[in-house]
């Protein structure tokens, strides 16, 4: 039975003075933010009829452009796959520089991590705008935007994956006199491979999601059809595009989940 000399611990900690103040502060910040976001009960309540109007005009989704839309979707996926592939390949050397205790010292790790943070901080649409300026309108700009976005994501998480591997094998190889590059290639990377694959699949899913809206800024893909649909009040086509995007994104996520299960488990 329970030893009475140790009283039962509390189920919940009672908030102290500081805790109480921080709850109040958080609540005030949220209220202030709602205000800044133009919170309006009137407009919220008047929106259902307008939404219903949109759907009644959009329904049924248009099917007469299906051909063109399907090809646009293929182009979208090509942008995503090409961009993600280039990004993933380039992420590996960058991650080797960003990971602590792998190739280079803390100083360089930190500089590379800050650069990767900067890449992630710039939204994908902003990268697309930048590349449209650099290489002109079209899918090539979109692919470059996806590639750089993928580097920001995979570069950081590949580095984390390598830092999280068991340091034992690396130490054993250090004791045999192996060079850092050899230790990275023969102990750290193989051990991190399942994590790399998982991270890469997330990178690809993210790339597919991004690639569907790049068209909004003229960087290729199906997003342009969405924009044109709304601009010309061709809501049935716009709805078709939205549904296609949903199907593709969900499909890619499902395939990613299955592949993560399958691929993680083969020897070299």
């Amino acid at each position: 039975m329970h030893n009475p000399s140790h009283p039962l611990p509390h189920r919940f900690a009672r908030p102290g003075g500081l805790g109480f103040v921080s709850y109040v502060v958080v609540a005030l910040v949220v209220l202030w933010s709602l205000e800044g976001a133009g919170w309006s009960m009137d407009r919220l309540l008047s929106s259902p009829p307008k939404l219903a109007d949109f759907f009644s005009r959009a329904w049924p989704p248009s099917t007469h452009n299906l051909d063109r839309l399907a090809w646009k979707m293929v182009e979208t996926l090509q942008i995503a796959v090409a961009g993600a592939a280039i990004g993933i390949v380039l992420s590996l050397p960058i991650a080797l520089l960003a990971a602590r205790n792998v190739l280079v010292g803390r100083g360089i790790n930190q500089v590379v991590r800050v650069l990767l943070g900067f890449i992630r901080a710039v939204p994908d649409l902003a990268w697309a705008l930048v590349f449209v300026v650099a290489v002109g309108l079209g899918p090539f700009a979109g692919m470059l935007a996806i590639a750089i976005d993928t580097i920001g994501f995979c570069g950081r998480f590949f580095a984390d994956d390598m830092e999280n591997t068991d340091p034992g094998p690396a130490e054993a190889l250090t004791a045999t006199g192996a060079k850092r590059i050899d230790i990275a290639a023969s102990a750290i990377i193989p051990a991190a491979m399942p994590a790399f694959i998982s991270t890469s699949l997330f990178g690809l899913e993210k790339a597919v999601r991004s690639s569907t809206i790049l068209g909004l800024v003229g960087a290729g893909g199906i997003g342009i059809e969405l924009k044109v649909g709304f601009d010309l009040f061709d809501y049935p086509t716009a709805l078709t595009v939205i549904l296609m995007i949903a199907v593709v994104v969900i499909g890619v996520e499902q395939i990613g989940a299955v592949l993560r299960q399958k691929i993680i488990g083969t020897a070299r």
Binding site: G168, A172, A178, A187, P190, R268
Partner: protein, 264 residues
């Protein structure tokens, strides 16, 4: 404390002088601002000797082994390994020295997703660099032959292509031993080579390990929590207690009582 009886030493002599493979002087180490793990350690190991390092959990055996191989730097004092002062060595010279040493870790520390053969070939990375030594499929024929010969010695040639994370504890320990031996080290450090093995497997691994190293005349420094192993396989006992060396004597001269006091 009685010192070694000359007859018990298998130490190699050069012009009447014994060659010292390891010399530790005034060694001290602490982690962060904690109490020192050890301080003022002085000992040396003669070429060809097999020394058992014993002591209770947390007395700093693993830490000391790491200092001896230069894997971590001591706070004070110095280590000479195979005649070279570790603090004097630059990166390349340090790697060249380590190519002549081997480590069998407290955990087996194999690369999990690679084959047994690839793991053994990694033991050659101190002498060779580059992609050909990263995995067995790319390795030159001599490397594969050498690794297979070593695997045969530890009795695991038939598992060469098994993934390292699909081995039993005893098998993976033998692979770790093969990896440490494949480069023909002159100085071998083994941190509890039998931890996590059942008594039978532990006995087998220890006997195998010792027969291999004695045949090659390798100098060995190993730790063990098995007093019997320490006394029967070690020519000499180094006992750590309270951050000091409490025993430094030929194993034949160490009484069971002295050993028991280490753990008191």
């Amino acid at each position: 404390m009685p010192l070694d009886r000359p007859g018990l030493r298998r130490g190699v002599t050069q012009g009447g002088l014994q060659v010292l493979d390891l010399q530790a002087k005034e060694l001290a180490k602490r982690f962060g601002s904690g109490a020192p793990v050890f301080s003022g350690l002085e000992f040396s190991i003669t070429q060809g000797d097999c020394v058992a390092l014993v002591g209770a959990n947390g007395t700093g055996k693993s830490t000391l082994l790491r200092c001896c191989l230069g894997l971590i730097a001591p706070d004070a004092g110095e280590v000479s390994l195979l005649g070279e002062k570790l603090t004097d060595l630059g990166g390349a010279a340090r790697r060249a020295l380590r190519a002549r040493t081997g480590l069998v870790g407290q955990k087996h520390n194999l690369v999990p997703r690679l084959s047994v053969l690839s793991n053994v070939i990694h033991g050659l990375l101190g002498r060779h660099s580059g992609p050909r030594y990263w995995m067995q499929g790319l390795a030159p024929a001599e490397a594969r032959t050498a690794a297979m010969a070593t695997l045969t010695k530890v009795g695991l040639a038939d598992l060469a292509l098994r993934r390292a994370d699909q081995l039993s504890g005893g098998q993976s320990q033998r692979v770790a031993i093969a990896r440490a031996l494949v480069g023909n080290p002159r100085f071998l450090v083994a941190d509890e080579p039998c931890a996590s093995l059942d008594p039978q497997a532990g006995e087998e691994v220890m006997a195998l390990f010792m027969s291999l190293v004695k045949r090659e005349g390798v100098t060995v420094l190993f730790t063990s929590h098995n007093v019997q192993h320490a006394l029967s396989y070690g020519d000499r006992i180094l006992g750590l207690q309270g951050g000091r060396i409490a025993i430094d004597a030929a194993s034949a001269d160490v009484t069971p009582k002295e050993m028991a006091q280490l753990y008191a």
